[in-house]
């Protein structure tokens, strides 16, 4: 008899697991079927590995290492030399400096007689992996025995710093800002939206008036004005922090409205009414019942919001109103390209654009896929 009860309990438990898993496993199943979304997720994983976590390893040089080559053109990987021989191991040509007397500009040309082979997992400048593991191995680089050998995949800037390395480090800051500000954005939007929907009354009126006011402002000009108000004299971590907060502050309104709507409809659901009748506290009802019910919606909004955050930061820093050097972000790197002269004579500064665009597109693909997967009514 007791065994039977136990058995039925076990059975029940298993059933319960099945039920609670089924929504997310359905989401996962749908998500995997969406090729575009999976590609987006893979691209993003790639970004996070190369930029956010292991930029030190993947970048051939530290971000502030100044070489003697100033605004040098990129030295691309070559597999075939000027005599037409093919090589399995990629190499780069050496750069020769040329001064154009007429225009008084310095340019670099490939010296096709000097070839520097590229090695993988080479020893280079020491660094701390993930901030604490001392290491000196870099993903690729030139032979450490020949100090003249340099590889600048995407050229160098005015101080001779390797643009490719800086792009990886810059990605770390930009992707971080996107993620951080979305977290702050979610925190403000969800909590105020949930409070507004659950309590109603004065709370609701105040929160909704603020969101209306925010929506009356066009985002970009407001963000630029706020960015400009951040004192120039502040240390860069503080500016970074401030920009993150500002990004969230100007955008939470829409999310709060949506969460409010979801909570308003959720408040009338049977299970919430039941919880109330058992005497559950407001906090418990909000955090255990109402907010989880909005989660899938919120995840989608957050994913689709990140690219916008990244772009706003880029725009702000590009205009010199946000992050400023020595902080390296995609925005500050793009600042190099803000003159016609730079575009004409050093177009490799524009390499930052594909870096930004691919990450944006990957987030959009991922977000779109998540939206389709999480919508139980979609086909």
């Amino acid at each position: 008899m007791s065994e039977e009860i136990q058995n039925s309990n076990v059975k029940q438990k298993n059933d319960k697991n099945k039920v609670s898993q089924s929504y997310w496993s359905l989401v996962w199943w749908k998500f995997r079927k969406n090729k575009l979304a999976v590609v987006g997720a893979i691209i993003l994983a790639f970004y996070y590995i190369t930029c956010v976590f292991f930029a030190e390893f993947f970048a051939p040089y530290p971000k502030d290492l100044e070489s003697d080559y100033l605004e040098a053109r990129p030295t691309y990987f070559q597999f075939r030399d000027s005599e037409g021989n093919w090589f399995l191991r990629p190499f780069v040509y050496a750069l020769d400096e040329q001064i154009d007397m007429a225009t008084r500009t310095r340019t670099y040309v490939y010296n096709t007689t000097v070839k520097y082979p590229i090695y993988f997992f080479v020893k280079g400048e020491p660094y701390k992996l993930l901030g604490f593991i001392p290491a000196e191995t870099h993903f690729f680089g030139t032979d450490p025995e020949t100090p003249d050998a340099k590889v600048f995949l995407m050229g160098t800037d005015r101080l001779g710093r390797d643009q490719f390395s800086r792009l990886l480090y810059g990605g770390r800051i930009s992707l971080f800002i996107g993620l951080f500000s979305v977290i702050v954005f979610l925190f403000i939007g969800v909590s105020l939206g949930a409070a507004s929907g659950y309590y109603g009354g004065a709370t609701d009126i105040i929160v909704m008036r603020i969101t209306e006011f925010l929506s009356a402002f066009p985002q970009e000009p407001l963000f630029l004005a706020l960015g400009a108000a951040v004192p120039v004299t502040w240390p860069s971590p503080r500016v970074f922090f401030m920009v993150t907060i500002l990004l969230a502050l100007i955008q939470w309104g829409g999310l709060a409205r949506q969460v409010r709507g979801l909570v308003l409809s959720g408040r009338e659901e049977q299970y919430v009414l039941a919880a109330q009748s058992f005497g559950a506290s407001d906090r418990r009802i909000i955090f255990k019942h109402l907010i989880p019910a909005t989660m899938s919606h919120v995840i989608v909004i957050a994913t689709l919001k990140i690219p916008g955050m990244i772009l706003l930061e880029t725009a702000l820093s590009f205009l010199g109103l946000g992050l400023v050097p020595p902080t390296v972000s995609w925005g500050t790197l793009l600042q190099n390209a803000n003159t016609v002269r730079a575009i004409r004579f050093a177009p490799w500064y524009l390499f930052v654009i594909p870096f930004i665009l691919f990450s944006i597109m990957a987030y959009n693909m991922l977000g779109d896929g998540l939206r389709d997967a999480m919508d139980p009514y979609s086909k």
């Binding site: 006011f213 009356a216 402002f217 066009p218 985002q219 970009e220 000009p221 407001l222 630029l224 004005a225 706020l226 400009a228 108000a229 004192p231 690219p307 772009l311 725009a315 590009f318 205009l319 010199g320 109103l321 793009l334 390209a337 803000n338 016609v340 575009i343 004409r344 177009p347 524009l350 654009i353 930004i356 665009l357 944006i360 597109m361 959009n364 779109d368």
Partner: protein
Amino acid sequence: MGAFIIRRVFYAIIMLFVVSFVSFVIISLPAGDFLDQKIAELEARGDRSASQRVDDYRERYGLDQPLLTQYWLWISNFVQGDFGLSFEYDRPVRELIGQRLTLSILLSLTTLTFTWAIAIPLGVYSAVNQYSLGDQIITTIAFIGIGIPGFLLALIVLYVAIVILNQDVVGLFSQQFKDAPWSLAKVWDLMKHLWVPALIGAVTGTAGTIRIMRGNLLDTFGQAFIESARARGLKQRTVVWRHAVRMAITPLIIILGTEAFPGILAGNILVEVVLGLPTIGPLYIQALTTQDMYMAGTVLVLIVFLLLVGNLVTDLVLAWIDPRVRLE
């Protein structure tokens, strides 16, 4: 209807006051003001009379007074058309903004026209020929386009124009017309330059509008009145355009007023900076960097003003186009 308009106008005016105050606070946030720098600069040059002039301004705009008084002085002049003084240029903001604002609005309207002229036919085609090759191409391009912000696209266009085509796309006027008085030739010259930034600005909006148009139209096709229209013997084309598109376009008009027009006006700021256009965008950015507060504040308030006007016009257009709204 009349009461509805009055209510909306009243609401817009209140909003404008709040917005102008907040803008003013934000813009005067940075420690110290532009005049401190200016005086230091002028005194270093030994320009006594200029320094005297600066003091006059300070008194006139109450710069040594509390923030609220400053705001009141500024806004009470503002409603009379005196937007204050640009410290950077030492000229009234109104003079500096005038033509630039006109060009900005012209650019935004052109952008909007492009957006709709491209997006609606493509969206309709995409929906009518759902899952066809053309639909898939359009949907893919729209998907990519949505992710490309105007200012990055402007940089790419600059690169292509300068490095590959060796063309000049910067600005809105050729050299010889830059300071010339208005003439037919100058207008023509403007037209020749205007389409580049307008097209750049249109990309993001076009992509979004195509997606919305396609989705709306597909929803509409499933409705009973479409079947009923076909059963009356109408041509497929008439059914699509007169009945389906007419219905599917209503939500687009809401977006047009509340998001598209102000979005373009504001979003174009960055494109204008990259392409160096003689519009308010570059002026605004410069004012923000140099803390030219009245200039920055004025531009911000004017943008919000246009946004609210856009909303109002949208409501009116909507009431005109959709009888169901008219009744409320």
